[in-house]
């Protein structure tokens, strides 16, 4: 790879970044890890986050290594404005 490949291109004059919207729907998977609690266990903190998600009204699914959260089109009008 040539060095020039690492130089970012100039910003496009046709894209107004402040007005560029993000996708209206997405699915996110996140893994949150508390650091420096003095314990190797993270279950108590994860439980707090799960309670938060339940209160949010979002669709979510916990797995052994993270949580998937869905933000769907039909939720935008109600939940999106409140949470995003």
């Amino acid at each position: 790879m040539q060095h020039t490949d690492l130089v970012p291109p100039p910003p496009s004059e046709t894209v107004n970044l402040p007005l560029l919207a993000t996708p209206s729907a997405c699915i996110a998977d996140f893994c949150l890890v508390p650091i420096g609690t003095g314990s190797a266990s993270v279950s108590a903190e994860i439980a707090e986050v799960q309670r938060l998600l339940k209160r949010s009204g979002l669709v979510f699914s916990m797995s052994s290594a993270g949580t998937t959260v869905g933000m769907y089109h039909d939720m935008i009008s109600s939940t999106l404005k409140m949470l995003i």
């Binding site: 997405c26 890890v33 420096g36 986050v49 998600l53 998937t68 995003i84």
Partner: protein, 138 residues
């Protein structure tokens, strides 16, 4: 997403001084898809595969092709609509590969109503998979 930031604030408020979160975000513009949709497609494929073996009344253990043949077959599934399956694969006694190849090719294109219709009219479609479709799981 703001909910993740709120999760950080929640735990910081509980005394956790440092939190690291990794996020993977997926979005697509060709269809509406839920978490359950993504999982159900794979689950239906797995269930259908099991049905094939059971309905044929054959032993669940089958003659594994060599790793090279399997790799070539999987490559063909994505590029040749399953038609490029090596002849030896088509004549495997367990019958699974020919059926799976057409379905898996469709899966590579994504899962949409057209795909559902295709599967429902597919003669190799199993009753188990149709049940999933009917229940809206696939």
């Amino acid at each position: 997403m703001r909910i993740i930031g709120q999760a950080h604030s929640l735990l910081h408020g509980s005394g956790v001084v440092r939190i690291q979160t990794d996020i993977r975000v997926g979005s697509r513009t060709d269809k509406k898809q839920t978490i359950e949709d993504k999982i159900a497609v794979v689950q239906a494929l797995l269930n259908g595969q099991e049905e094939d073996y059971i309905s044929d009344g054959e032993d669940l253990t089958f003659e594994d092709p060599t790793a090279g043949q399997l790799r070539e077959a999987m490559s063909n599934m994505h590029t040749n609509n399953g038609n490029g399956m090596p002849l030896g694969m088509m004549t495997q006694p367990h019958t699974g590969y020919a059926a799976q190849s057409s379905n898996m090719h469709g899966l590579a294109q994504g899962f949409d109503p057209a795909m559902t219709t295709h599967l429902q009219h597919d003669p190799v479609m199993t009753t188990h998979m149709q049940q999933h479709m009917h229940n809206g799981l696939g």
